[in-house]
């Protein structure tokens, strides 16, 4: 990096440290599109249709060069599994009042992700098409893991050169090449439906209106944490199939904007106040000396 570029970036950095708050986006709930106007894409998961075949897990592992799971092994359903550094999506089984349901878990691809707001080097990125991805300029601070309401980013603790692993909506592998996520393509029961969030919400409503007895009248992810790009339909209340139902509808980045807005104010007022105070407490003779010098 040459000196000029270095100084320039240094300047941006200093201004950035000062004006962070000014740059913070004004968030609003349930976002459907990026700042450039492109509609966020996502997936509708209709849990009433899932048969727990785990084809999505297999397809996901293949698309991301991860160890292939043994999808014939039903013993995995004995306990609730979490996603991991080698399994970016998992299907869990829940026994409820209305019978057994299978629920796929992966990154929700929030409209305004906490992990993206948390990242100090923008290694986490929300793309215009809705995918939230991780990049290699990450320094491994794991603040994204603290800030994710769904505990999705997973860190490779046992590597000297660790990566953050999470579902990337097959952004790099397929989306940018005009494809759809591997899991959606592999699903034999049309549990998964890929589309823009707007379309998916409309489709969800249609299904609920058409079969009000089959579904609970709620779309998980429509408003949760400001709206997520993955949304879920269910036959039973969502807390029965392993969802956090107390997350609220506030986008997570909004929780720290209050602090960030205060930053430039302190940065401007504090030095002025301190300099003034220091002038007031300066002994008289010292002040005179300075005056004379001028």
């Amino acid at each position: 990096m040459d000196r000029r570029k270095f100084l320039k970036s240094l300047g941006v950095g200093v201004l950035g440290a000062a004006g962070t708050a000014l740059m913070a986006r004004r968030p609003h709930a349930a976002e459907y599109s990026s700042e450039s106007g492109e509609e966020f894409k996502g997936v509708l998961v209709d849990t009433t249709r899932c048969i727990g075949c785990r084809s999505c897990e297999e397809a996901c592992a293949a698309a991301h060069d991860l160890p292939a799971p043994d999808i014939g092994d039903e013993s995995v359903f004995k306990e609730k599994r979490d996603t991991s550094t080698t399994q970016l999506t998992v299907v869990n089984r829940y026994k409820t009042e209305k019978g057994i349901f299978f629920v796929k878990k992966q990154c929700m691809h929030c409209g305004q992700p906490g992990c993206v707001a948390a990242c100090l080097v923008k290694a986490m990125k929300k793309h215009d098409d809705g995918a939230v991805t991780w990049d290699t300029n990450c320094m491994g601070c794991r603040y994204c893991m603290i800030s994710c309401p769904f505990d999705i980013p997973k860190f490779e603790y046992n590597s000297w050169n660790p990566k953050i692993q999470k579902c990337n909506l097959c952004w790099e592998q397929r989306l940018t090449k005009g494809g759809i996520p591997a899991c959606v393509e592999a699903c034999p029961t049309e549990t998964l439906l890929f589309g823009t969030k707007r379309e998916l919400i409309e489709e969800s409503r249609r299904r609920i209106y058409r079969q009000p007895k089959k579904y609970v009248n709620y779309i998980y992810g429509e408003d949760e944490v400001g709206g997520t790009s993955w949304i879920y339909l269910s036959a039973v209340p969502f807390e029965q199939i392993g969802f956090k139902t107390d997350l609220g509808v506030t986008a997570y980045p909004e929780y720290s904007t209050g602090f960030l807005y205060a930053v430039p104010i302190v940065l401007i007022l504090w030095p002025a106040f301190l300099m003034g105070l220091s002038y007031l407490t300066r002994p008289e003779d010292e002040k005179e000396k300075k005056e004379k010098k001028r």
Binding site: M1, S9, L10, G13, G16, A17, G19, T20, M23, A24, R25, D82, S84, V116, A117, A118, C119, L120, V121, K122, A123, N137, C138, M139, G140, C141, R142, Y143, I146, P149, D151, K154, F155, E156, Y157, N158, S159, W160, N161, P162, K244, D246, L247, G248, P253, Y255, S256, G258, F259, L260, V263, L267, W270, P271, L274, L277, S278, T281, R282, P283
Partner: protein, 409 residues
């Protein structure tokens, strides 16, 4: 004590090298209890860190996918930085308010603060998964402007620079660089003003990091006012550490104290105790307001409520009272006990946010508890800092008066 026979003014590199070499030699007894304990710990710590660099963080820590931040963040960074708060409080008192009474301890405090940042914030390097990218937010390999951590990272760097400028006249006096010292000390007020501003923001910023951990931190601790609580508590955390450290330095480095300082030391401690009591009462009051508005009465009957009360009554209100009592009756024992309790309270408070009350719904044994190796590396870092502190205090005018050419002319 034996004043160094080294040249008091260095004119060229030819003077400089032998001077540094002579200063590098150890002074005083080698087999002290502190050395006997600290050296093996530091050696073991270095080995563990090397192992971690090869095998990954998981090899020596108990961190997991559920607990991404453990003792290295919760204790080293969060707590270490809070304790370094004494530097900005004292520079405010001495350079802005110009209360000369505290002048004798300002250098030791700033040095301590500076080293705390270097070592404890430096401990971040071993906690980062990809530490070779640590300068990315500085050099612009993407600026994450909406991140609180971005602000904290920049402020750490800038504040270390400000503190280095504040302490640098002592370095210049040690090297006998008269001209340089003049320039450096003319920068002090600017560095102080800048430093206080930065401290206000990043002390509270460390708290603001947890704002997005909503739902993961126990409701008795999570509030939208975490940044303010972190800032206010850093005031008495820093001052308590100054009392604690001052009481030890008083004995260990008594040869290096000038007479004036020795005479006024008790008076200084009493003044600091008053400051602590005031800040702690304000903090307690804030905590009460937040508790009332949070309406979390139901949690008080649980184990977590008890733990909360231990922190807020046992380690804030009681030491606050002891500080006040100690200051009123000039009882130094009371003040020192209060300082120790306060320090304990701050450690517990910061660990509550980052480790203990973090994901409180995950009970032991799945809950994070540091491994012995994490504790050893932390101890190694603390000991290393004390080594450097001692090396500097023995050689430079930190506790003693500056050389005659400063005070005389």
């Amino acid at each position: 004590m034996s004043v160094s026979a080294a040249p008091r003014e260095i004119k060229s590199l030819r003077d400089f090298v032998p001077f540094i070499l002579s200063e590098l030699k150890p002074r005083g007894k080698i087999f002290t209890p502190f050395n006997i304990i600290s050296v093996p710990v530091i050696i073991l710590g270095v080995i563990l860190i090397a192992y971690r660099m090869i095998k990954g963080i998981g090899s020596i820590t108990n961190l997991s996918q559920d607990f991404p931040w453990g003792m290295w963040i919760g204790f080293d960074v969060m707590t270490g930085v809070a304790f370094a708060g004494g530097a900005y409080v004292l520079t405010f008192v001495v350079y802005i308010l110009r209360i000369e009474k505290y002048h004798p301890i300002v250098r030791a405090t700033v040095l301590n603060g500076f080293l705390a940042y270097v070592f404890y914030a430096g401990a971040l390097v071993i906690d980062l998964g990809r530490p070779w990218h640590i300068f990315n937010p500085i050099i612009g390999n993407k600026f994450g402007l909406s991140s609180v951590l971005f602000l904290v990272a920049w402020h750490f760097l800038l504040y270390m620079t400000a503190e280095f400028i504040e302490i640098s006249p002592a370095f210049a006096e040690w090297l006998g660089l008269k001209r340089t010292r003049q320039v450096l000390s003319s920068l002090t007020l600017g560095a102080v003003v800048f430093g206080i501003t930065l401290s206000t923001l990043h002390q509270s910023g460390l708290g603001a990091l947890f704002m997005m951990a909503k739902g993961k931190i126990h409701p008795l601790w999570y509030t939208q006012f975490i940044p303010i609580l972190f800032f206010v508590s850093s005031i008495f955390a820093g001052l308590s550490l100054v009392i604690f450290e001052g009481s030890i330095s008083q004995r260990v480095f008594s040869d290096h104290l000038d007479d004036e300082h020795r005479a006024s030391h008790n008076d200084i401690l009493i003044g600091l105790a008053k400051g602590c009591a005031g800040a702690m009462f304000a903090y307690f009051f804030l905590k009460m307001l937040i508790f009332m508005h949070g309406r979390h009465w139901e949690y008080l009957h649980t184990g977590w409520g008890l733990w909360y009360l231990v922190e807020i009554i046992g380690l804030v209100l009681i030491p606050c009272y002891l500080f006040l009592r100690g200051a009123m009756y000039k009882n130094l024992t009371s003040i020192r006990v209060a300082a120790v309790l306060t320090i304990l309270g701050i450690i517990i408070n910061r660990l509550n946010y980052s480790v203990i009350a973090y994901k409180w719904y995950i009970p032991l044994p799945a809950h994070y508890v540091p491994s012995w190796m994490e504790i050893v590396t932390t101890l190694a870092i603390v000991f290393a800092e004390i080594w450097v502190f001692r090396w500097i205090v023995i050689r430079m005018p930190i506790l003693r008066k500056p050389p005659a050419w400063v005070t005389g002319g």
